[in-house]
């Protein structure tokens, strides 16, 4: 039974790792399908993590906190949209700016709200995100290890489906993709290209904010300066890895999660490998898989190109 439990442990860890990445990668999917590159996911995730933890701490309501986290990410994304859509900014530059603003604002506000500390106070278990299947299975049984996850994990999978549905099955999704592929064509058909892009970019921030909150309201229960360190970039990589599709991004995030699960698992066994080399595993695996299976991936045709209406 032990092997099964080990497997359960690895799967459980994978899900914990993957969920925040999935939200953020879905944000990436959203914005880049509309043709706006978003390097600023990391910054949006950070502010989401901070706002989630702060609202969660003061209100005691995790759902409110989760929504506020999305809102905060969305506000940063709005800035990105103003720059990239309205003012045809260089999207990479604006994204990098967001990556300074997100953590900068989070820490600044943290000091203001938490008495100078760059860390928020922990939220009690019963005020964190709920775990819907907690207590249903025997503790540390295979099913418990796999399924006793926070609501944020389940929501992440639900969101994959929702984003997939929106992008490929609905009117607005068709428009988002059209705008990312050929904005002028959409424009000539009377579609408000700017509006569509604004919507997609803001949603990307909302999702990244959720991703941050999935860290600070579920994975742990507080925010500190180092809580989000690189996840936004990993999510970005996962989105490219997943070829700009929601389902592809999901698999990429899960792959990364599994690799982390393996690292933790191997570190707990008697195999004596230096922990530095172990820590490299997820990144090396990603590279190898990219090299051997994935290869060339091209995003939406007009991705990254500012769209300017025909007027001078």
């Amino acid at each position: 039974m032990n092997a099964l439990n080990d497997l359960g442990l690895i799967i459980g860890i994978s899900l914990m790792y993957a969920a925040p990445l999935m939200y953020t990668a879905l944000g990436g999917v959203m914005t880049e399908n509309s043709g706006v590159v978003n390097i600023g996911l990391e910054g949006m995730m950070t502010i989401g993590a901070f706002v989630g933890a702060t609202v969660g701490f003061y209100s005691g309501n995790p759902w409110l906190a989760f929504l506020c986290a999305g809102l905060a990410g969305g506000v940063l994304a709005l800035l990105h949209a103003v720059a990239c859509v309205t003012f045809s900014a260089d999207q990479v530059v604006s994204g990098i700016a967001i990556n300074f603003l997100g953590p900068g604002l989070s820490l600044f506000l943290s000091r203001v709200f938490f008495d100078g500390a760059t860390m928020t106070k922990p939220i009690p278990l019963d005020q964190k995100m709920p775990r819907p299947l907690n207590g249903v299975f025997a503790q540390n049984s295979f099913l418990d290890l796999v399924f006793n996850q926070y609501a944020t994990v389940y929501l992440a999978f639900l969101l994959v489906f929702i984003v997939w549905y929106i992008l490929y099955k609905t009117k607005i999704g068709l428009r988002i993709r059209a705008v990312g592929e050929h904005p002028r064509a959409a424009d000539t058909l009377g579609i408000d290209v700017y509006k569509v892009k604004y919507l997609a970019v803001i949603l990307s921030g909302v999702f990244a904010g959720f991703g941050g909150a999935a860290m600070s309201l579920a994975a742990v229960s507080n925010f500190r300066a180092t809580l989000i360190s690189g996840q936004g970039f990993i999510a970005l990589a996962a989105m490219i890895f997943g070829k700009w599709t929601p389902q592809g991004s999901m698999w990429a995030c899960l792959l990364f999660g599994v690799a982390q699960g393996l690292v933790v698992y191997l570190g707990g066994t008697d195999i004596r490998v230096s922990s530095q080399l172990l820590a490299m595993i997820p990144y090396v695996i990603t590279l190898i898989i990219l090299m051997s299976f994935v290869g060339k991936a091209t995003g939406p045709a007009a991705n990254g190109i500012p769209y300017e209406k025909n007027e001078e």
Partner: protein, 359 residues
């Protein structure tokens, strides 16, 4: 065009400082005092100036690295990892090898460049051979570099006992200015002034020269602007991608090497990315992706960080305001159109109706 860029950049810096001031004011700090502290913190003593330069040096180099890659159509998020590799190799060469002074430093610098060049070139290779997007590969390589560096620092032959750092480089590998060189300049030489800044400036001009005046630069830019046309014109696109990433990697590696050989003399165990490469991206962008621009942008960045972090101990204002200011500056630099709009608003209003109609 170029004058406009400079003007826009200066306006963006101004906007950044103004918004920073407003935020400070909003939470109850006196922005004038804060900026006063910053300015005094940078120019208050010759030593501070030399510290600002020292802090700027690696940023200038990683900035040039990112800018160079941009010019060749690549996005080098990997400057961070290449910096780490360069620092690691420079330290190892500086410690394990025994060579005469000057030569030792040169060998350490070159090998660091080579190693980091290969590190960066690997991302270029993956892109040219397998078509893997360099943004993903360099992000992964950053983390691998971090753990690799830690792995070596933990190696008992390399680790300095009783510390969380490597052995120190031999003095023969140092690029510090000879001691007692400039007592005339007051405290300027109290800081670990070294040849790094001079190297950075030389590199900036070298890269500018390579890009604009050599056939290699022509090829790289052609590939950067339009691979298809370059390929059609007989340029080997794949080779150039690898070359471009190698050079970008080498410059970031040099940044790491210069930092070690000039300032820290050792590398320590890294518990997180230090941000030299990520800051380099911002430097490159503020510098308009031009190597010479990176010198000024790097100095600005170094000054903001060095001077800016003094406001917290001096007046208790959160020093994160600096990152906010930098973010705002970069944000507005991204939007020349908006700045143009702001600056021409007045003149437009004068011309009034006519322009309105044609809109």
């Amino acid at each position: 065009m170029k004058e406009n860029r400079l003007k826009f950049t200066l306006i963006a810096i101004l906007i950044g400082l103004v918004i920073g001031a407003i935020i400070l004011l909003a939470v109850g700090y006196n922005p004038l005092e804060a900026y006063g502290i910053m300015i005094a913190g940078v120019f208050g003593s010759p030593k501070y100036i030399s510290w600002t330069i020292i802090k700027s040096t690696p940023l200038i180099l990683t900035g040039i690295s990112v800018a160079f890659a941009f010019k060749t159509g690549l996005f080098n998020i990997g400057a961070e990892g290449q910096f780490i590799v360069g620092a690691l190799v420079a330290t190892m060469v500086g410690y394990f090898w025994h060579l005469p002074p000057v030569l030792h430093a040169i060998v350490a610098l070159l090998l660091a460049c080579l190693a980091a060049g290969l590190w960066g070139g690997f991302a270029g290779f993956l892109k040219s051979k397998f078509g893997v997007n360099e943004v993903i590969t360099t992000i992964m390589l950053n983390w691998i570099a971090l753990y690799l560096s830690n792995f070596f620092v933990y190696w008992d032959k390399f680790k300095r006992p009783n510390s969380e750092a490597s052995q120190k480089i031999l003095s023969s590998a140092s690029i510090a200015f000879p001691k007692g060189l400039g007592s005339s300049l007051g405290s300027f030489f109290d800081a670990p002034v070294n040849f790094g800044f001079i190297i950075a400036i030389l590199v900036a001009f070298l890269i500018k020269y390579i890009l604009n005046d050599t056939t290699l630069g022509y090829e790289l830019r052609a590939v950067g602007f339009n691979k298809d046309a370059a390929e059609y014109g007989g340029i080997n696109v794949k080779k150039n991608m690898v070359t471009a990433m190698m050079i970008a990697g080498a410059i970031s590696g040099l940044a790491g090497a210069v930092h070690v050989l000039g300032v820290t003399n050792e590398i320590s165990i890294l518990s997180a990315m230090e941000g030299n490469g990520f800051d380099g991206i911002a430097v490159s962008l503020i510098g308009g992706n031009s190597p010479i621009g990176c010198i000024f942008a790097g100095l600005l960045f170094g000054a903001l960080k060095y001077g800016g972090y003094k406001i917290q101990p001096m007046m208790g204002a959160p020093s994160e305001i600096i990152n906010i200011v930098i973010g705002i500056i970069v944000f507005f630099i991204a939007m020349p159109k908006m700045i143009e709009g702001l600056t021409t608003m007045r003149s437009r209003r004068k011309r009034g109706g006519e322009v309105e109609r044609s809109k």
